[in-house]
């Protein structure tokens, strides 16, 4: 692909070594078995697969939290290996993540304002006033208000918390945002609001999304390209229309058959209902 590629993964493998009990023998879980794909700037790649197929593992590798066991990761053409190199501020700022569970992803002892200014404090040279102003702006951009700045996370609903998590991810002006099932813990009506917010933000900041989900209707609404994973392997990878209209792999076909309400009309109706 000659387009503007922001991220490229080559043959990523991730193994977890665990021990069963104190004297048990070591167990090796191969969570990713050689994953390759690339991401085009400003587009959305949806990653679909059932629970336990390695989606979150992939998200952690791409966000540079965990290293891959094998394989290469290139961000804007630059190879990155967090086992060897210390992460620079610049690199840190390029990729950010929003987690699935908005109740677990915010520190209960941290005020919203501190949640948003901490990344700025650690990664930029802004002074306190600038950080504060910037965080306030970001709060407004995600649909909250300056009055929420001094509150603790437990005072917010799930949807509001997810907005805070999105704001935290965006304060560093990342180029790539990994969304690990960002709406699957939310009510349907709130899901639609968050998806719309994500679409607006993508346009405003020219963001690239890697959107992890197991909900095909959501994927169909938001994705440009779709990657289907099955037990740590990519079994389908192509444009949204190609994958949805002409699934190649048996697993994809079963997946689509198991989700009867994945047609466009149904989703539009659902989203419309959620908006009113």
């Amino acid at each position: 692909m000659s387009g503007d590629t922001i991220l490229e993964a080559r043959n990523l493998v991730r193994e977890y070594h665990t021990k069963e009990g104190m004297f048990g023998k070591p167990v090796v879980t191969r969570a990713l078995k050689g994953i390759s794909f690339s991401l085009e700037r400003g587009k959305t790649l949806a990653v679909v697969g059932e629970s336990g197929c390695g989606k979150s593992t992939l998200a952690r590798i791409l966000t540079l939290i965990d290293p891959a066991t094998e394989g290469e990761l290139l961000i804007e053409g630059e190879p990155i290996d967090i086992r060897k190199d210390r992460l620079t501020r610049e690199l840190r700022r390029k990729v950010q993540i929003v987690f699935q569970n908005p109740y677990g992803s915010l520190n209960p002892r941290q005020k919203v304002g501190d949640v948003l200014t901490e990344p700025l404090k650690l990664n930029t040279d802004m002074n306190e006033q600038q950080r504060r102003d910037f965080a306030m702006d970001m709060l407004v951009k995600v649909g909250l208000g300056p009055e929420h700045y001094n509150r603790y996370p437990h005072m917010f609903s799930g949807g509001q918390r997810q907005r805070i998590a999105i704001a935290r991810a965006l304060v560093l002006k990342p180029k790539l945002l990994i969304l690990d099932e960002p709406v699957s813990a939310l009510d349907l009506s709130v899901q639609a609001q968050i998806l719309n917010l994500l679409a607006d933000l993508q346009e405003e900041f020219n963001l690239t999304y890697l959107f992890i989900s197991h909900d095909l209707s959501v994927v169909r609404y938001i994705a440009d390209k779709v990657m289907v994973m099955y037990f740590g392997e990519v079994v389908e990878y192509g444009t949204r229309d190609a994958v949805f209209e002409n699934p190649q792999h048996d697993y994809t076909k079963t997946l689509f058959n198991a989700t009867p309400r994945a047609d466009v009309e149904h989703i539009k109706a659902r989203l419309a209902a959620a908006h009113s």
Binding site: L64, R92, G104, L106, R109, E118, P119, R151, M155, V190
Partner: protein, 299 residues
């Protein structure tokens, strides 16, 4: 229905405190314990003003004088005098200083070192964890008072050494508690999110994770405060803690044990002082646990 419209009053640290007090207040025993403890602190602070006599002055005309309500007692020595004519009430009042001092020092040492080691073990795991926890297991393998006794025997019998020994003996509980909380917190998503925000390990340990591990530690601190007082009294009783004529409660017990039959009050009052103080602090600890950490509540 917009989820952004839910509006709640801003909450400050003060509100959190008020909220905590509301929970704490429902536990009557804890409140009584707290009042007693506050009273004890006042007594300790103002001991020279409250005490009717000096704690070490010997009245040679009044050996083993009985307390005021017994035959032969007088208002001069309300709780009587001991075998060498010292006023027991004054000694108990001054003794509260030592007990509180022991509690504060032991808990401070055990808590700060315990938190530090527990954070290290829980954060780095691997061999750091193994070394720290095996040492703690070794400490736990000895009966605590026996170990404290051995340590004091090595260090020398003074109150300060007794405190150090007791702090070492109590260490493992804090380390284990901190480590367990740290491990469970470390796997939560907010910690991962903090890492992605660029928070490095030291800040992650102390600023992100530690505040979320404090509730069980505060409870443990309250409960081990009383254990420390008890252990210090026990060491004093065995003659390896505070040395005479220090009016330490355990030491007072030890000095008086040969008069238990003909002058039982000499032994009874310091014993009561220890008992009531320990019970009061344990009641506070229970109340703290219920108010801070609903998960630990006995159902």
């Amino acid at each position: 229905m917009s989820d952004a419209s839910i509006d709640v009053k801003a909450e400050t640290r003060l509100d959190l405190l008020v909220n905590f007090w509301k929970h704490f207040r429902t536990n009557k025993g804890a409140v009584i314990g707290l009042y007693f403890f506050i009273g004890l602190i006042l007594v300790a602070v103002f001991a020279p003003l409250i005490a009717p006599h000096s704690p070490i002055e010997q009245y040679r005309d009044a050996f083993k004088a009985p307390p005021v309500w017994m035959e032969g007692g007088s208002w001069k020595f309300i709780l009587g005098t001991d075998a060498v004519g010292r006023d027991i009430l004054s000694r108990i009042i001054f003794g509260s200083r030592y007990s509180l001092f022991v509690g504060v020092v032991v808990v401070s040492i055990a808590l700060s070192v315990g938190i530090f080691l527990g954070l290290l073990a829980g954060t780095f795991r691997g061999w750091v964890d193994t070394i720290i926890m095996r040492i703690m297991d070794v400490i736990l393998a000895f009966p605590s008072l026996l170990l404290a006794l051995v340590l004091v025997a090595i260090l020398g019998p003074t109150l300060v050494n007794a405190m150090i020994a007791i702090a070492i003996v109590q260490q493992p509980y804090y380390v284990r508690l901190t480590r367990a909380s740290v491990i469970s917190e470390m796997s939560r998503e907010y910690v991962m999110a903090a890492r992605v925000s660029g928070v490095r390990t030291p800040r992650l340990m102390f600023k992100t994770v530690l505040p979320n591990c404090m509730a069980p530690l505060i409870v443990q601190a309250a409960l081990s405060f009383s254990t420390a007082i008890l252990d210090a009294a026990a060491l004093g009783f065995l003659g390896v803690g505070a040395q005479p004529p220090t009016p330490e409660w355990g030491t007072m017990l030890a000095e008086s044990r040969e008069f238990i039959l003909n002058a039982p009050w000499i032994m009874a009052f310091p014993g009561f002082a220890i008992l009531i103080t320990v019970v009061a602090i344990n009641l506070i600890g229970d109340g703290l646990r219920d108010a801070l950490d609903p998960k630990l509540k006995r159902s």
